[in-house]
Subunit: 229 residues, 2 copies
Amino acid sequence: MMQCVAGSRMEGVLDLLGLLAYAELSAFLRLSDDASIALALQDKVALAEMAVAEYGHYRLLVRRLEDMHADPEAAMRPFVPAVDAFHAHTAPADWLEGLVKAYVGDGIAADFYRTIAVLLDPETEGLVQEVLAEAGRSEYIVTRVREAIESDPAVAGRLALWARRLVGEALSEAQRVAAERESLASLLVGGDTDQLGNIGRMFARLTDGHSRRMAALGLADQRAESRPA
Amino acid sequence: MMQCVAGSRMEGVLDLLGLLAYAELSAFLRLSDDASIALALQDKVALAEMAVAEYGHYRLLVRRLEDMHADPEAAMRPFVPAVDAFHAHTAPADWLEGLVKAYVGDGIAADFYRTIAVLLDPETEGLVQEVLAEAGRSEYIVTRVREAIESDPAVAGRLALWARRLVGEALSEAQRVAAERESLASLLVGGDTDQLGNIGRMFARLTDGHSRRMAALGLADQRAESRPA
């Protein structure tokens, strides 16, 4: 039941790659800023490693855009305002908030990649899987956040609120992007007539993943069970 | 005429690798900061590329330290104050000063690597050559600085002064490190009795390279010929 014409579908894929590329470039910049302000050498290195990994994703996405004969900068440009606005509204107050932001953001991005991979052509899907294969970088964050909560349990409440704010801001920017870029929105709903069902399932999956990550950090959502397994 | 015992020579090599590793990690952090504040997307990407290349060097140096059964963090730690002091004393006033700093610093580091490579064991020498092989990333800086001077010739004088200050600060930190780390200083003079001759030649080579780079940027040193070929 494909309702999109090929041209608009292609446009949607270019939009998606452009958005992800700029999001990864921004993640690189934010994480390397966090590495700059980290005090311990070990923390600097851990954050720099994560930043460089995001940059690797950015490079893969740009290469894919080039393979598709698109101009990467032109593909990214429409999404600069939304991604920049997200970061402007979620400037971490301290280093710990920066860590939580990196973990939450990276996790949502990975879940999102996983969800949309099936909508893409096999080559782009392969790329997305490659990006996802580099997991495990975030163990460091989990350890650091749990240590911080152990030494000051009051931190947990503040960070849990912070994580919810991050998700709220991400969703509101996502909504703005979807409203502005019809071809991208069409791609994401897959041209299916049961659009609300699809989007609903996608959000359900993203929300589940987020709750799991909050539990891993020791910041189980207050609406969820307070004792993660 | 080797006067150093093997142990102190090994200590010198570990010092050198530790110093270079921390310098590369810092270069990564500074360049990615510059990428953050760059306004144009194209500039952000160019600076991020350079930052990630420096991080690649850092990784190679850390791997070599690990191969030598050294703790990379312990090897870097003695040099944190000097490298941090250098950067604290040379915070760029604007983005253009940041570019010149990256170019001058990268160039001096490359010349220094080339000069010391012969003092090292073959494996470490091979590594240093590998780091050097990744040249050509700085064409972007040359283009940007020359554009800035063309649109405002007064910029040249300010940037030339800035470049001289960078070299002065680098030398004064190098002197401090040499005074504090005898084994490193011994390695660099090669245990030769004609120490002053060796150090003199090394500085002459570094100075020549610096003058060449100033000419490339359109910032020929006032003491040198004012018309580079």
